[in-house]
């Protein structure tokens, strides 16, 4: 089959002139489509979904809407426009021109960064593949698919870098992206949070709120990279990631709104009997997702992160807005450590604390949404506050991994933890309960009983628009 890839793959990278990339895509694209059909959204291949497709990087070009069958979605390759004469902003190459090619000495490190980032993109599609069967509305189903195809596009973006810049090794890594699978015991995804199942829509909204926000911070840090193609790719991906977080944040807000309505209507906080989701269940989901997302930032003290920074491969969040020397060779920060069952602080070279810095920025950003959630609760005059758990809570990576801590950050023994665990984290009973609420609603404009309708539809269309056509 002859495919004109330049036509089928929207791009702004002169695909038609790049023999190597064309060949690589010829080999990879069929495998990708197979993967999508086998492990993408389950039994949805004939659905026509009202999707946004990016066909160029300008404002008009990436908001191109229409009904498409997902396997025919035009996954494109886009880089944000180059900044003129961009200079490296940090590390020991600071001030030099950015690189348009992979420097041989950093090949392995750059490839590892790109592979780790790239691996999360198809993982989330796999994790969410059964959700279409329990969607709360056509509007939400469409949003799920929008998120899925864009995660697919983000995989394309990373695969593009691997194939265009890393030769045979890169092509092998691109193939591996499709051979690891979320939750596969033999070939799992690289990062643990991407092997958890996302079986219910509360988890989906939490995922798009927390995990995708991690994605935002990772991409932002990579967009500072001295490796120009990576930087430009990540900058464009960030515009799409924003929509995913919008889906997560508004999803959680609509659930909270519905919960509050039910609480007011029935004057009880046990509204699960009335088909709603209790605030304490929402809190448990927050506890779970936030804590496993903190693990995604890696260890607080990391020589890998320090190396990436010094080499100029991965910066901090909004590097150029930080007022320091951007070398960090002589500065220190305070990092937590566990001493005699207490959390204390310790001076640590700032260079080795790069992960911690990114994680703190993430925590602040996450809190902003929580504040908005609490405003809704407040507006219903309900005296409950949703909170982010302490960083020591439920951790598997870093200084806190060997201790048990309550959501407020108190170190406790294992017995106490085991006793109280189900008050803090989703129990199997909670999962059963949430699952029982997940009943598919596909009548245009209708919402499941546990979620409020959105404020408005997609792209100016009404809420009851037929966003997904079933055939």
């Amino acid at each position: 089959m002859n495919i004109n890839y330049n036509e089928t793959i929207p791009n702004n990278v002169n695909l038609s002139d790049d023999r190597r990339l064309l060949r690589a895509l010829e080999q990879w694209q069929p495998a990708y489509i197979n993967w999508w059909k086998e492990l993408g959204p389950d039994q949805t291949q004939n659905f026509e979904v009202y999707l946004r497709t990016a066909i160029s990087v300008d404002a008009k070009g990436w908001a191109h809407f229409g009904h498409v069958r997902m396997p025919e979605y035009r996954w494109g390759i886009f880089l944000s426009p180059a900044e003129k004469d961009r200079r490296i902003g940090f590390g020991h190459h600071k001030g030099e021109s950015t690189w348009t090619e992979v420097p041989g000495e950093y090949r392995t490190e750059l490839r590892r960064l790109i592979v780790t980032q790239g691996d999360t993109e198809p993982a989330s599609v796999e994790q969410q593949r059964h959700l279409s069967k329990t969607c709360p509305s056509l509007y939400d189903l469409r949003n799920l698919f929008q998120v899925n195809v864009e995660e697919g596009r983000h995989l394309w973006a990373m695969v593009y870098l691997l194939q265009a810049y890393f030769g045979r090794d890169g092509r092998e890594e691109a193939d591996e992206m499709l051979s690891r699978h979320a939750g596969d015991p033999n070939k799992p995804r690289i990062l643990e949070a991407f092997n958890e199942q996302t079986d219910d829509w509360l988890s989906f909204f939490m995922f798009t709120y927390f995990q995708d926000r991690d994605g935002k911070f990772q991409l932002a840090a990579l967009s500072e990279s001295a490796f120009e193609p990576l930087s430009r790719t990540c900058r464009f991906m960030l515009t799409e990631e924003a929509h995913h977080m919008f889906v997560g944040e508004t999803g959680i807000m609509r659930i909270i709104q519905r919960t509050c309505e039910l609480m007011r209507e029935y004057d009880t906080d046990k509204i699960s009997l009335m088909g709603g989701i209790d605030l304490n269940i929402i809190q448990k989901w927050i506890n779970f997702h936030y804590s496993i997302c903190l693990d995604l930032f890696g260890s607080e003290r990391s020589t890998n992160a320090a190396n990436y920074y010094s080499m100029g491969l991965k910066g901090r969040y909004q590097e150029n807005k930080i007022n320091d020397d951007h070398l960090l060779t002589d500065s220190y920060v305070s990092l937590p450590k566990i001493e005699e069952d207490e959390i204390r602080n310790e001076e640590t070279p700032a260079l080795t604390a790069i992960n911690m810095k990114l994680r703190e920025d993430y925590a602040k950003d996450s809190q902003r949404g929580l504040d908005r959630f609490n405003k809704i609760i407040e507006s219903y005059c309900i005296d409950t506050k949703l909170t982010l758990p302490h960083p020591a809570f439920n951790r598997n990576i870093g200084v806190f991994k060997d201790v048990k801590a309550s959501p407020s950050g108190k170190i406790i023994d294992a017995t106490t933890w085991n006793k109280q665990r189900d008050q803090w984290l989703p129990s199997s009973a909670d999962y059963e309960l949430v699952k029982s609420l997940m009943v598919q609603v596909i009548e245009p404009g209708k919402m499941a009983g546990w979620i409020a309708p959105p404020k408005r539809g997609i792209h100016g269309l009404p809420i009851d628009y037929e966003y997904v056509l079933f055939h």
Partner: protein, 559 residues
Amino acid sequence: MLSYLVNKRALILMINFFTSPDQYKHWQINISGNVATLLLNVDENENPTLGYTLKLNSYDLGVDIELNDAVQRLRFEHPEVGAVIITSAKDRVFSAGANIQMLGQLSHVEKVNFCKYTNETRISIEDASLNSGQTYLCAINGPASGGGYELALATEHIILVDDGATAIALPEVPSLAVLPGTGGLTRVIDKRHVRRDRADFFCTTSEGVRGRRALDWNLVDELATRSNLVSQTHSRAKSFAQKNNRRISANGIKLEPINRKIEKNLISYDLIEILINRDLRTATFKIKGPDKTSNLSIKYIYSIGCKFWPLAFARELDDAILHLRFNEPEIGTWVLTSEGNHDAMEAIDKIMLKNYKNWFIHEIILNLKRTFKRLDISSRSLIALIEPNSCFTGTLAELALAADTSYMLDKAIEENTEKKTTFCLTGINFGYLSMSNGLSRISSRFLGNKGHIEKIKLIGGKQLEAKEAEELGLVTFAPDDIDWDDEIRIALEARASFSPDALSAMEANLRFGGPETIESKIFSRLSAWQNWLFQRPNANTSLESYGTGKQPTFDRNRV
């Protein structure tokens, strides 16, 4: 040997390895019938700018460059010679070995380079004795210590003057806190089979051993009185020469000067061009293979002498290796490329193997062998690139086998489809060009896999394409034309970014698999320990205080 090279960048001191007997300052070659004598008579003040005097026939690099040249010329220019006597022209002095003041002044890099070169020269002496039918013997006419006695050890027969005073010694440990650096320890044990406890005593006694005991302990082969030394040595040499019985049917082949031009980033010979990239710290060797010759015959080969491609190539490559080793220490990666006619290369290998017993051809192959060995023990990363115009066949294929990594272009997908990239082994790759471990590079490459080596032998002479060569394990990677440039660029950049020390050490460990020989022990064990010593404070304080009367203070920790 040391000459000033003026170039536009700076006035730099460049070491030149080319010399000839009419320029010798320290050695004299006397030939009488089938016996040659190499007389060491070091000019103490050869170069007053150097800051040391070469007392007691002690030597520096300049002395050794002449020795190496003499050994080489005797092989090619004097095939009639069947035995070579090394002795001293100075009365009651043989040699005090490497000059200590000189060693004290050298940087670590220079010391290591110096030792490596002197070792290569001694191994080439042994090669002449064992393989060329020119047996070396040594007449020790006065004190021979350190490198002096080690030079004697490199010969096959040592005659020591028994005058109640003359001693042989390896005083490095007690006097200098270093090791005998030119194979002394290894040869005493492995070549002369001196018992280890006696060797221990010998190596820790600075005044050394004389007469009877030296003979009893097998440190020498024969004793002679002062008055008999010369005549006794000559008659011994004559009998060696007769035993050798070289079949010489022609005069020697004159080794003409090599054409070489050195520019800032380009070194050009007739057959080799070397392009230096100082940013990437690479030297790219462009080697021109032989031209097609219609009437290739032994007669023709004699008529062109040192211009015969394999000999000319070996001499140029040898000089290039030494030049880069000594004069371009920061150029850490040598990229080996070639061009030329595969058939011509194959034809040359064929005629050489067919006439292997002809003394001249034999010498050429031995010379190639030694030159490739020099490549093996050079502390540089070797990367071979096999491309459409390449000529990696037989002798030249050996370069790719010597490389740490080789890349071969898989058939061009879009361009140059008519131009094939091939790689081809000939008989010469199977045992004629052995490494210091005694194995061919093919055997070293496929250790423990005899079946595979047999399989490869069977397809010798076939021009292999990239995928085939890759599958047979003859090349490391076979990228296609789309990946080629980037793969190579990234490989070279990555190489340039690693620690040069770690690379040298790693490569030296990976290159020489399999068994050990005296030669491989000298480079892998003796030199490695010696280089470690050079970096330790005890050796440095000792070398610096030598001759000042001060006693060195040691760090007493055993490491």
